[in-house]
């Protein structure tokens, strides 16, 4: 049974809830876009492949400055390793929330963490949903790429 839009919206809700917990509810949502030609990647990305009631991928991608604020490092500039750790933690938390909500109906891959652009190409679905997030003037994006339009009855 394909997921309903309400269930897919949980991907955004879970991400927002986690980030707001860290930031004290300071995350602002910008108007989303649907992209047909390209994927959007910021400096660091944590990606999950989806299989089961939704097929495709969801990833969170953020600038180094965004992660620096999240890391709240007092030791100066955040290192690449720390950036990967922060983005990995966010992606894992999203995955845990999704596992808890959807159980066995939705299978998630292990988080795939990379910087700039993926080493292995990601197959572009017909369209991707890009939800921009802003915190302290820094940008991050939650990107959803469903492989099919199949949907539960609205």
């Amino acid at each position: 049974m394909p997921l309903h839009e309400r269930d897919i919206h949980f991907f955004i809700d879970a991400t927002l809830a986690h980030l707001n917990k860290i930031t004290g509810n300071e995350i602002a949502l910008r108007d989303p876009t649907i992209e047909f030609q390209s994927l959007v990647f910021s400096a660091y990305t944590g990606l999950l492949h989806l299989k089961g009631s939704a097929e495709g991928f969801v990833y969170f991608t953020a600038s180094q400055q965004f992660l620096q604020h999240l890391h709240n490092s007092s030791k100066g500039r955040i290192t690449e390793e720390e950036c990967r750790t922060v983005i990995g933690e966010i992606t894992s938390t999203i995955a845990q929330a999704m596992n808890k909500k959807f159980g066995t109906t939705l299978t998630l891959s292990e988080p795939r963490i990379f910087s700039t652009v993926p080493d292995d190409p990601i197959e572009m679905p017909p369209a991707v949903f890009v939800q921009p997030l802003i915190w302290r003037k820094e940008h991050a994006y939650l990107v959803l790429g469903l492989a099919s339009a199949e949907t539960a009855t609205p």
């Binding site: 030609q37 190409p121 990601i122 369209a127 469903l146 492989a147």
Partner: protein, 237 residues
């Protein structure tokens, strides 16, 4: 206010929506402002009396959650049930925008982000190491044309299509995902042929001229949202 004004929700509303707290019937009215219906029609659909709707609408305007939706002369004449004077061969002025609102800030392109083009078919065959995003081919579009298939030479306003689909769901965020699902069914090559590489889910200014694309969108709305597109998604001829 006369009741004939048409309002739509604003980017300010979109930003603040999650923080807004309203009496449930007031939400019903606020969500009825879809850029298509008049104030009187919105009040009717929200089961609110016109007298109740007036102060609420003023409040929504003051909060900048809604703004007036400009309409063309043709749309105005159609709403009034008047004959299109162009059909008589009389001279007719170019499409006129009534109630010009302040220009809305354009949705900025993602900043600080690298936009990676879709992999070319030459590399797209490389399987990802994790569960593959299979079935990326577009599913067949419903064979039954939507009632609005008589597209002619009229341009379709992408923003009106987005607003219509979003208005079918009580929650903006969920409605936007319904829009996404609709566009998953629209062949990307048709969109790219009209230089539409992305759709902004608030205030998109694109006009769709191609009949094939118009029909593909109408069919996708029919298939996914189970609704026919209204005439009001079309700009004047």
């Amino acid at each position: 206010m006369t009741g004939t004004e048409i309002y739509k929700r604003t980017p300010t509303y979109e930003r603040q929506a999650r923080d807004i707290r309203l009496h449930a019937p007031h939400w019903k009215l606020l969500l009825a402002f879809d850029g298509l219906r008049t104030l009187a029609e919105a009040a009717l659909s929200a089961e609110t009396t016109f007298a109740e709707a007036l102060p609420l609408t003023k409040k929504f305007l003051d909060e900048e959650w809604i703004e007036e939706q400009p309409i063309t002369l043709d749309q105005y004449l159609k709403r009034q049930g008047l004959k299109d004077i162009a059909a008589t061969g009389a001279m007719v002025p170019p499409a006129t925008v009534l109630h010009e609102p302040a220009p809305a800030p354009a949705s900025p392109a993602p900043s600080g982000a690298v936009v990676a083009p879709a992999p070319s078919p030459a590399i797209a065959h490389v399987p990802p190491p994790l569960p593959a995003t299979t079935a990326v081919a577009n599913p067949p579009v419903a064979a039954t044309p939507a009632p609005v298939a008589k597209t002619g030479a009229r341009a379709m306003k992408l923003s009106a299509v987005v607003d219509f689909i979003t208005s079918l769901v009580g929650n903006i965020g969920v409605g936007q995902l319904l829009v996404y699902r609709v566009f998953l069914r629209v062949p990307p090559e048709l969109l790219l042929a009209e230089d539409i590489a992305s759709v902004h889910l608030a205030g998109d200014t694109s006009l769709i001229q191609g009949e094939k694309l118009q029909k593909a969108i109408a069919d996708a709305v029919e298939a996914v949202a189970k609704r026919a597109l209204p005439e009001s998604v079309f700009a004047s001829a």
